[in-house]
Assembly symmetry: D2
Homo-oligomer: 483 residues x 4
């Protein structure tokens, strides 16, 4: 099989028998559910663009296993150029979809496992890497979307897994059999989970021996026995259920996140990539996190959309020439491009790991993500400043099309004879969507907590900077010797 088209991808999802719950009920057709569908369309965009010759260089790569051209989302990075192209792919898709396109987390899980399974084998004389490469071949050949599942519910944050009142608050091995293991627990905040063919599970933090049953990594089909999904709500989610489209803001794409429950799921050995090697849990977390913090390159692309929307509204309002508006647009761009510098720099400063996989610079990936926890909020604030108050006082599309009041909206929300009132409304709804609505979940809160909350990056920054060298430099310059 080669790379799938967007339609083939959609069809492939229809073959799955996922147990998905939303608003207290199981969904009959996940793909066709109006709240889920825009998120599926966003993932489908990662297939469609890979077919587009214009984007081939960014969206595809040549597999180091098969030598075939594959979607970059299934590729193991073989060079710094690969890493840089990954960042550019993220920005491209963020701009194309204006939301989270969900497929990066599986790519990051695959790359992290390509390194860590190799490292475990070196120490433990195990066979994880062979198993992993067989799995990778399957993923690449079938052009699959994988969910990378790391975050456990965590319960009481002050206690390690085995001390929790309920031991299942971190996913764990509850049974080991001849043919595999049985796992129980849940993974929270799983972006795009129900648009995935596969789910790749990893532990969520460094572990000690007492927590060895929690040191587990594996991959399973997303519709495996015992796996269930409960969809999280987003701000303004039900606008997707309404007649009309305008009020959705982004009328094409969206995202979703789910709680994934593993209710005593059996995993055959060939799908197990870590089994109680607790010493390596921390390494897997750190490497995955670094890749995934790089992945927040996508927010630069979403930022492009928001900046474009703010500029367009300013033009509609006839304020685009005001010096303070121009300055705010510059500031939005400045912040957005500062983010871009981060995801490019951590990639271009990448290095090969023993497995041959190229890893990003961990320090700079954390720096990048830390800025992502800040700048989108300020960009949003500036977008709201430029948009004006109408963004939150605009009546509904149904008012706009109503015989009774539509003419008043048409009349009083017009800013210029040549600019359709509807265009202004659409653009304001897009800004609302990105800064207060469903897409704000991805652009703001996910920017805060995805790939680790801000403090997680700060801990890594403090561990990765070379303070000794800095202190030596300072002491030399002021004449302190012999400390």
């Amino acid at each position: 099989m080669g790379m799938m088209t967007a339609n083939q991808y959609e069809d492939s999802l229809r073959q799955l028998n996922l147990k998905v719950y939303m608003f207290g009920k199981r969904l009959e057709s996940v793909v066709d559910d109006p709240i889920i569908r825009p998120s599926m369309k966003a993932v489908a965009r990662t297939y469609a663009l890979a077919q587009d010759p214009e984007h081939e260089d960014i969206m595809t790569a040549v597999s180091h296993l098969s030598g075939k051209r594959i979607n970059r989302f299934t590729h193991i990075h073989q060079s710094r150029e690969d890493l840089v192209k990954k960042s550019k792919m993220g920005r491209l898709l963020g701009r194309e979809t204006g939301c989270c396109f969900q497929r990066c987390v599986g790519m990051d899980a695959l790359n992290a496992l390509s390194i860590v399974t190799y490292n475990i084998d070196q120490t433990c004389k195990s066979q994880y890497n062979r198993r992993f490469l067989a799995y990778l071949t399957y993923v690449q050949e079938n052009d699959l979307t994988c969910d990378g599942a790391m975050t456990d519910p965590k319960g009481d944050r002050s206690l390690p897994p085995h001390k929790q009142a309920d031991p299942d608050l971190y996913l764990r091995i509850v049974d080991e059999r001849e043919d595999g293991i049985v796992v129980r627990g849940a993974k929270a905040h799983q972006t795009g989970a129900v648009n995935s063919h596969e789910i790749i599970v990893m532990p969520t933090l460094a572990l000690r021996e007492a927590d060895r049953d929690y040191a587990v990594s594996f991959a399973m089909p997303s519709d495996a026995e015992g796996i269930a999904y409960i969809i999280g709500r987003q701000s303004s989610d039900t606008r997707k259920l309404e007649a009309g489209e305008l009020d959705q803001g982004n009328i094409l794409f969206g995202g979703h996140e789910a709680l994934v429950v593993f209710d005593d799921v059996f995993v055959p050995w060939e799908r197990v990539f870590m089994c109680r090697e607790y010493d390596f849990a921390g390494q897997l977390v750190e490497i995955f996190a670094a890749y995934h913090r790089q992945s927040y390159a996508c927010k630069v692309g979403v930022g492009d959309v928001l900046i474009g929307a703010a500029q367009t509204v300013a033009e509609y309002n006839q304020t685009a020439g005001a010096s303070h508006i121009k300055d705010k647009i510059v500031e939005m761009n400045h912040l957005n491009e500062t983010l871009y510098c981060g995801c490019i720099a951590c990639a271009s400063e990448g290095h090969p790991e023993p497995s041959g996989t190229y890893a990003v610079d961990t320090l700079l990936a954390n720096i990048h993500k830390q800025n992502v926890t800040r700048f989108p909020y300020e960009i949003s604030r500036l977008a709201q400043d430029i948009a004006g108050g109408l963004m939150v006082t605009l009546p509904s599309e149904r008012d706009f099309t109503s015989d009774q009041v539509g003419h008043w909206l048409e009349k009083y929300y017009r800013t210029h004879p040549d600019i359709p009132t509807e265009h202004r409304m659409r653009m304001l709804r897009l800004i609302e969507n990105l800064t207060l609505g469903a897409a704000a979940v991805g652009y703001l809160t996910e920017s805060m907590h995805g790939a680790g909350s801000p403090q997680a990056q700060r801990v890594m920054i403090s561990r990765k900077v070379d303070m000794a060298a800095k202190k030596r430099a300072a002491k030399k310059l002021c004449g302190i010797k012999g400390e």
Copy 2:
């Protein structure tokens, strides 16, 4: 009549025959509409607290006209203490309701008109102040809620009113009759409009002679012939239509904003407070704006709620003892109290105007509001940081109460045996409500644009600071003489 109770207030609204449209249809019972009702309840709180002896000092005042105790929202400030209490009333009600309680704009309109009608009379030998005081007596005696309507749709922001393609894009006098005037136009972003008994119209910017028909101020009953309301959408507004309450976040209160259309409304002379005195339009805008910028004291109270929510969630998550969490709570408080300093300082530095009304310090009121366009966004960002990602991935209340998946949510979202999972969910929904949901409209975007967008304050700051004195001081100190 004395001060109304909350119930009397609700009953009084039921007497009105308002033409209110939402989702393309006219509402049959405004008061009972589930989207409007929480906003009505927020206004009702201004009546209820005035009855509470604990809050009498803040919530009420003694009328300088009648000598009777009245709700402070209908009072004309007679001292600096009155101004300070107004700021404290705003914070109190913001904390009580967690949203916009809507009644301040009418108070600010009354106070501004008490000054400007007096000033016009001094110059023009007119009778506006007498008319105004008669109207004020009526408002105080009946304890009415007034909407203060200033913001016109404005069309092309680069053109003055009379140059607009459609002359109605600013509200204007279209006819003058023996018994009064006829006006046409609209006022946008009218907070709490349909919870008001009266609507007080003012011009939205300084005007020149060519725009004299736009120099008009008057008050009318909210259900007068020709007035119609079209309700604006808010983020997640329709959660109020759903079964259950938890997903609303703030289960008690809310806000609304409306476009108010004046379709050739007749205004009798006794209700007209400015009629073509274009020289005074700018003064009215400036004085009203200063009062109304002070009124953003309320956001300090909403900030109290958000800080309390963030702290509570941290306690639920067992992270409240982490140093970085404690530091973020300090920072949220620091920003919130910095806002408080602004609304207190502009009040305590107030002064009497010729009419006897006390006015806030214009410069400091603008400083205060400028900070309000910034700090709530940062407080929200920090609240989202502390809350964790679950705030945007939490399934619905219907999932929580579902037989099929409710037990999984109960199990996996629990953080401590003693803390009900439902409490954690409620608190996260409140933070969502305040930072991404319906209340974010008030706490964030209204903080940005209400009482004038940030650049409006910057223009006032540059006009009100005494640059000459600063330059003199600098020149003296570095020895420059004789410039």
Copy 3:
């Protein structure tokens, strides 16, 4: 005696026999030393302005002891108005001198002692308040400048006083005699110490019983036996020793700070205001700190000078009309006036203590000071932005007056035929003085650490905000009962 004139003040200092060291040598005439003299002139300004009818209301008060008009710097605050006037006095003098005028710390010490001596007496049946009032009468009658000495050297910050390797690292009682006590130790960072007639010592932190010898407060003449001063260096301090004046920037005023050593100083009982009442050390620190954090009102006045200087340079450079320059001036003013709001609000929200003295609102005073640790840095950054690079590449006054190169500077640094090159140079030197030079010590680093470093304010903020009320408000709104 009534209030002293500036000249009388200078003369009174000449009567003192201070032991002052600078650059390794004892100064012969402190008052005439070119590095010290500008700081003495700044204190003298507090005497001069008090004689000026224009400033009488702000600069003077009526003593509650004698009923006579006194300099406000020796006054015990009797009302909120007094507290507000104190803040205004600070801004006024900051603008007049462009530096630290040094006299507030004594005022704050007097006010704090007026409260705490009273409180100790209530608990301990002691006579401290009587002693203190006698001392206060002496200070008021002679219009003295007092140094308030709190900060000990502190040694190892992780250890309490009695655990230090050297017990003298906090000032302590080393002997108690029939007629008084003997103290040893030092006080660091003593602003304006050698311009003071008196030195009032207080402990620097809350103390436990093991540290009871450190719980000591007293006042002594600044030239008492055993007291010595070692002057600290400031950036560019020796420019004051050079010929010419232009390169000093502020050619009139300056500041200084000293280490004050107490080498077994005898203090008679009448001058002792706390002696081992360790329970009250924390209270004295907290009350003094709140007053002194308010005192950073002065930085608003220094900010006025810097804003005036930046505006003037922009005018000299013909850039004052550029929109980005105007916006930066607005931002500088916005930050400066936000500081002003803080020092006004904590004063206008003041309250009477049991002694009758009015105290500032502790929370808001800490909020104010916390902002002072931030905004002057940003104001300085913006001033440097507006000033242009010449501020740090400008040759010396000696080059400007040199036959060899002066004509080149005259030619190449001229921006406009009507603006003397020398004026531009003077103004740039003033900005350098305030942002990198001797005055930056006061405007920046002292803003950071004076009256307590930033973390000290954060600790107080976390202690003074009412978190319980905030949590209650949040729980009520989202429907959590019975916690």
Copy 4:
């Protein structure tokens, strides 16, 4: 000749006959002047490190002209890797010297001219590139330090060169002869000017035909007839003249800046690289500026020193374990590494120009420099926070070594028995040097204005971002077609 050693470099400077003025007098020996010498030592470090095998890869390159190994400061970038190594060289030297090492501006001038002379020739059929390459060969063979001189005095900023009251306020051609041209004018803010063998002049802004005499670029020996230097003052500059070393902070290195006067200097044709081709002046400015904005990579290295100093002082003070101190160190590192991302990203995203020279990404280089105008100020503020107030109240080295008071300083400034008081003093002086002293000129004000003031970058950012693509993306997502 090969690369010079540091000693050879110093000797080579002694051969020059520079006319240098400071404090109104001509310097007799520039190299030995105590104020200039530390800046010469900083440049010498660029020679010394190039001899060090550890740094060869970063500090040297292979000439594309001669194939010989040369100092990277004389190299024309041949690849993205060269550009990245340039950024790393900047950081390395910034950390080594803790100041401006001055040699980058010549490198940037050479690279910019390698592109623009080629481009002029393509259009004008001129021979500038041949001349330039001959000159470059001379520079590379002799391992010369070049000053790149761009900034004119500019007079009235609102007027173009030819409209200035004095036409010399921009450097210009005043005569053209058979053998060359004669130029007059000055270049301001010339960093490291008197440590250079050569001075390369470029125009300072885009020019129109009326300003064609100002479109001139050339190179001359730094001691050519008619060239004079007037050294600018720095904060605390004269501490270098004092006995002792401790009070200097950075006891090894420093910087200087000069006004360079061209008093009718004759330039032979072989040294002329642009002569009235005004169309190319803007291009030369833009390309040089992009390179030079990248060069602010050096501030990351200076930041390393400041962070190391802050951490060391915290350890001396026994506060390094406090959570707020640790968090501030993380923040300093975060900001510093964000800067690093900028200088790496603009390099790794470089591209070849028609001449074959690799140029940085202009947009990202401007983003980088814009951040440099902000973050060092915040890093400095945090360093002052951590350092404590003693940084600005510390007595002089002469006090420390004095028989009279030295023992008191030794006693009272000690924080731990194992940490020499002197070490603490040295480290505090280093922080003072970097944040308020001579090095603050480079770390702060030069970061603001060097390579163009902040607004210059903002103009470039607004010109270089692709707003059309952003608007298209936004319109597509909200369903706007056909605009």
